[in-house]
């Protein structure tokens, strides 16, 4: 089920809120929320609910026995890592691995590709965080399998994050309160996210599609306009989803971590990754980068650590060569900044911002492709290799038809928009209520007439 659909906005969410808010007992409240979450997942994924339930039972059992058999703690941790990553690897990377083997060694192995279970990357990482943190002694053992199941399946963040670590919500699973103010803030946040998705991301996606930059030769300006539209689309799409997830969490009494902080206002690529998909960055830092030694090792090992983490970050996004390339591209950029760029102390701020945006822009060129051939197509278009001229009728048509949307998107992706939202929520309640009511009406009008438009990050 998609958040930005009439079924979700007008039926599923209100019903869930009514049932959970009306129930005073936290244990019953958790069971209701668990049932709603399973229905939410089963809506588009009936078979793979079984896989998710098996994953819940597996990690719950690992936790129980990690506490019961202290002398086997390390072995149980390793078993948990192997089994969780094994399941993720089988469903997500098996076909990719067979393809690589066939190409590398001229083999003719057959891969029985299974459809990728939706959200598996997100819920596997959440389950792993529980097992690892339990081993480290950072969280308490969860003895109630239903509460643990709720942690894994909680529908606001099940499909596309934020990646909530068990330590973030362990207290709230046992005791949480919903206040009228929290409910109002959550609704406002949800509506801001819905507006980002419906009013901006979907329309920017149509501009990217109309540019044809992926599918064939285009003029240079058309390619740049198309990729600009994609850069804005993916930000509003994913940050919109995160806003909706955080807002729903607040309505249900949970405090989910922030996932975005105006990343297009960053002054460096390092800064960008502190503001974009922050929960994924935190996960890799806590569970991969620091255990590898982080930066407290020799320079060569430090460089290797960074490249490993970014290679894995790319691979996490998808089983395709362009995602690995995209991850390594960022690894190399971060190394360049760390060892070269940051040593230039008097670098102008405007230049830093401009170069960061350009680097991120080219990064999306690698990311939006479905294959290396498409990557070749998009970069060939960007650098005029399609030989269709710099400006053509199509590029002018795109700019004249969608220039205002692109300008509004660019302006609203900057830090002032986040500050304005915060100021509205903190100090201008009357204006906030009026704005939310207007957004709700406009979004509803778009929802009723729009085609099916899933979130981009569902595929990961």
């Amino acid at each position: 089920m998609v958040f930005s659909s009439t079924v979700f906005v007008f039926f599923f969410l209100p019903l869930c809120l009514v049932f959970t808010l009306a129930e005073p007992d936290i244990r019953v409240k958790n069971i209701i929320l668990l049932l709603f979450s399973l229905v939410f997942y089963a809506w588009g994924e009936p078979v793979y609910v079984i896989l998710m339930v098996l994953s819940i039972l597996l990690n719950y059992t690992l936790g129980r026995f990690m506490a019961a058999i202290p002398e086997w703690r390390k072995g149980i941790l390793v078993l948990g890592l192997v089994m969780n990553l094994g399941i993720l690897g089988f469903f997500k990377y098996y076909g990719f691995a067979v393809d690589i083997l066939n190409r590398a060694f001229g083999l003719q192995l057959t891969a029985h590709d299974l459809p990728l279970p939706i959200g598996i990357s997100f819920y596997t990482f959440q389950a792993l965080s529980y097992v690892i943190d339990l081993y480290r002694g950072n969280v308490r053992l969860q003895k109630n399998v239903l509460d643990f199941g709720l942690y894994i399946t909680m529908f606001p963040q099940l499909i596309a994050g934020p990646i909530v670590r068990y330590s973030d919500v362990q207290e709230q699973l046992a005791d949480r309160h919903v206040t009228a103010a929290g409910l109002g803030r959550g609704m406002a946040r949800f509506l801001f996210g819905l507006a980002k998705k419906v009013l901006l991301a979907n329309r920017l996606g149509a501009v990217f599609d109309a540019s044809g930059v992926l599918t064939g030769p285009t003029g240079t300006l058309t390619a740049w306009v198309g990729l600009l539209a994609y850069s804005l689309q993916i930000y509003f799409d994913f940050s919109g989803y995160s806003d909706m997830a955080i807002g729903m969490g607040e309505m249900l009494g949970f405090d989910f971590p922030e996932n975005f902080n105006a990343p297009y206002g960053s002054a460096s690529v390092t800064d960008f990754w502190r503001r974009w998909h922050m929960t994924l960055g935190t996960w890799f830092r806590e569970y991969v980068y620091i255990p590898l030694g982080g930066n407290r090792v020799k320079p060569a090992r430090h460089i290797a650590n960074i490249l490993i983490v970014w290679g894995l970050t790319g691979l996490w996004h998808g089983a395709a060569a362009n995602f690995v390339l995209w991850g390594l591209y960022y690894g190399l950029l971060l190394l360049f900044e760390k060892f070269v760029w940051f040593r230039w102390e008097k670098r102008p701020a405007w230049l830093c911002h401009a170069l960061t945006l350009l680097a991120v822009f080219f990064g999306w060129g690698l990311f939006c492709c479905g294959s290396l051939a498409e990557c070749g197509q998009i970069f060939s278009n960007l650098f005029g290799q399609a030989h269709l001229g710099f400006v053509d009728g199509h590029s002018l048509h795109l700019l004249l038809s969608h220039g205002a949307l692109l300008a509004a998107g660019a302006a609203l992706s900057l830090p002032w928009a986040v500050r304005l939202r915060q100021a509205l929520m903190d100090r201008h309640l009357m204006f906030l209520v009026v704005l939310c009511a207007a957004l709700f009406v406009v979004c509803t009008a778009f929802l009723v007439t729009q085609n099916y438009n899933p979130f981009l990050y569902f595929r990961f």
Partner: protein, 165 residues
Amino acid sequence: MKTPLRVKIAFVACMLLLTACLAVFIGLRLRRPHPQACDFAVLSETLSEAGTLPDSLPGSDASLKRAFGLLPGSAEEFLYFEPATFMDVDEVLVARVSSEAQAADVRAACLARIEAQKNNFESYGTDQFSLMNEALVYENGGYVCYTAGHHAAEAMALIRKAIER
């Protein structure tokens, strides 16, 4: 204090049971009839030769987006025949998908298309409305298929034959 042996045996038994459940689940998923690599050009010819597309025309990316809200990247590959005129409902869509997320997207788009067409023809085109009531959506692992119109059932049978072993 040393952990009692029965606890360790219980752990091993639980892990074996869960691993067996996972293996059975994966085994059952792999045993389902697998879609064979279907050549859409051949399938297109088959559908045309069988006379299942008299009121349809080959669709474009733009018409696919307009009718279903699907972009070329929404699936690995599409075969689409759109209604020949705005008063026709004969339509075929076959999508090769590589993930459950893609399958869910295309399936939802097909269901939305059926509802939209029914709304278009309700109280206006009774024949078209009843044909849309008989529209078919079928999913098999790597493919999601949709047929509507006078030859929906025959077209779907040919598509299923082409994608299933």
